[in-house]
Amino acid sequence: MTIARIEKLDRLIEASVSAREAQTGSLLRQSLRRLKRSPMAVTGGVIVGLFVVVAVLGPFIAPYDPTAQTWGKEVFLNRNIFPGPRAENWFGLDHLGRDMFSRMIVGARQTLLVGIVATLIGFVAGAALGGVAAAAGTFGGRWGERVEAVIMRTVDVALAIPMLLLALSVAALLGPSLSTVMIAVGVAQIPIFARLLRGSMLAQAHSDYVLAAISLGVPKGRIVVSHILPNSLGPVIVQATLVLATAIIEAAALSYLGLGNPDPGSPEWGTMLADAQRFLSGAPQLAIYPAVGIIVTALGFTLLGEAMRESLDPRLRRQE
């Protein structure tokens, strides 16, 4: 064997070892590494990051007070004509003579808040229902199975109602306001989260490490909380990212149906978009700014969520 061939063999072994090292590390770290390489995740991450920065800094960087109205000859309410973009108001003025650019910047915060609160309501309540159902069904014996059956059948019924209708009926109970919109959109997401967490937990409940924990005599409650639950949250978190996008869009739809607060103290994109529908033929820009804001933000969360889903999917992992 020539020296050159031995060296080549050495290099091959080295390469395979470092490849294996790259494969090790926690699943989470592997997923993160894949995420950083995915253009979808990076695009989504940048959009979401920008949105969050604007949402946090909004009131400090806005050039004008978003609620200050300029009346006078500039705003002709009855003719539906409003000043368009110009040097001192980059996005023009809205139907009450308020600076659209400032309203967009400040509105990011409320919009983010609507998305996050709605998603949290769905996430927490849904995960609680799904988690209890899975835990009771797995470890609760005969009574536990009944509890699981009752919870899951109820969830199935709720799933049979299209989301917008579920939101509509909740909104009918609570009367029109922005918190109604958040609760309505959140409640409509509960069944999806419940099904997802239960499915994910049941899949974990039959794995070897759970069997090992049971045979070591670990209390059942602890198995559920510190073994099964952390390992089942992945798909639910992905769903939460996607739901954030849906929540922002659905909230706009509910505002359009007149279930939001028609003119809340601080601006919110969904309400702005719904409001602007009245002036669409005369001043389409009033609708286009918030619409583009909503679309881009929803796209950002969707891209991020889809990329996360792909990076967690074991079938795609194998193909690498």
């Binding site: 299209p162 909104a171 033929s281 609708a287």
Partner: protein
């Protein structure tokens, strides 16, 4: 297959019963209770008592529930608070418009979505794939009422290419058979009416199809990608079968299962989208009715609508599950 069907039918009955329970609880929990909704604010106590008695609100709660279910089964949802007509009649009058619109939207979504998804999968990694995937992601992110309104402003109001509102031009005479106006126009020979109805359908149907189209493209792409990697497709290719045979018999037949599921689910959600689209185009279907009922807090009308749509949704899901047996022989054998 029969046992499976019976089991699914029983599950359906339980689900519907649960649904009436939820709806009943919802109706009871409405702010102020039904008598406050039905009576003017300055009603006397005697009027309230009389109304409570006539609505059966003095009865025990289980009797009220039984009465509620009994009336729901007979499709008696009471009268609309805004129009005063029976809700069942309102819904029945408006159902054909929504069905026509939903079918048109679904036709666009399926007709474009499946070929597009197939092509995207076949040419994975090309610009076509990229455009299809990013387009479909974008499609799910556009608020549907905004899309509808923009289509209306641009194509109907500014360019004047298509009508802005309603299902037919003003003053056109039309013989009603099924209420599906394109279909009616064709079978009665009133082709001008059929064409007029089609023209009025184009914009609302495009707006309504945006989300189903996006979803179908992505599901078809994923499903075809799953199947084309299978051994039997490679075998068929190696045997020298014609590409059209491989596509029809080997790839699409197996890829159809998840696509059929999603189409069924989308049909149900189309009704929700129709609420928003119809209100933009004053389309006069169930959607406009619900928009009105929501803005005017017409709770009995909303309840009737939710019940009818939920029944639709549950039945569609059942049909989808049963269609598995037709699409996939393995399901038939297993059950």
């Amino acid at each position: 297959m029969l046992r499976y069907t019976v089991k699914r039918l029983l599950q359906l009955a339980v689900a519907l019963l649960g649904l009436t329970l939820l709806l009943f609880a919802w109706f009871k929990a409405l702010p102020g209770g039904p008598e406050n909704m039905l009576l003017p604010e300055n009603a006397t106590d005697q009027q309230r008592e009389a109304l409570r008695a006539s609505l059966g609100l003095d009865e025990p709660i289980w009797a009220q529930y039984a009465d509620f279910v009994g009336r729901a089964v007979r499709l008696d949802f009471g009268s609309s608070l805004s129009s005063g007509r029976p809700i069942a009649t309102e819904l029945a009058d408006r159902l054909p418009a929504t069905i026509e619109l939903s079918l048109a939207a679904m036709l666009i979504a399926v007709g474009l979505g499946i070929p597009l998804g197939y092509l995207a999968a076949k040419r994975r990694g090309t610009w076509l794939d990229f455009a299809a995937v990013s387009g479909s992601l974008l499609g799910t992110c556009i608020p549907i009422f905004f899309l509808a309104a923009m289509l209306k402003v641009v194509f109907a109001q500014e360019l004047g290419l298509l009508p802005t509102t309603f299902r037919l031009s003003a003053g056109s005479t039309y013989t009603e058979v099924t209420g599906l106006r394109v279909f009616d126009g064709l079978i009665t020979g009133e082709f001008d009416v059929a064409w007029d109805a089609v023209v009025h359908l184009v914009l609302p149907a495009i707006a309504l199809s945006s989300i189903p189209l996006a979803v179908i493209v992505r599901i078809t792409r994923a499903s075809v990608l799953d199947v084309v990697g299978e051994d039997y497709v490679r075998t068929a290719d190696a045997k020298g079968l014609k590409p059209s045979v491989i596509r029809g018999r080997h790839v699409m037949r197996n890829a159809m299962l998840p696509i059929a599921t999603i189409i069924g689910l989308l049909l149900g959600s189309l009704f929700a989208g129709a609420v928003l689209t119809e209100s933009v185009f004053s389309f006069g279907g169930i959607g406009s009715f619900v928009y009105q009922a929501t803005t005017e807090r017409d709770y009995p009308a909303l309840m009737g609508f939710i019940l009818v749509i939920a029944v639709f949704y549950v039945v569609i899901n059942l049909l989808v599950d049963l269609s598995y047996g037709l699409l996939d022989p393995r399901v038939r054998v297993r059950s």
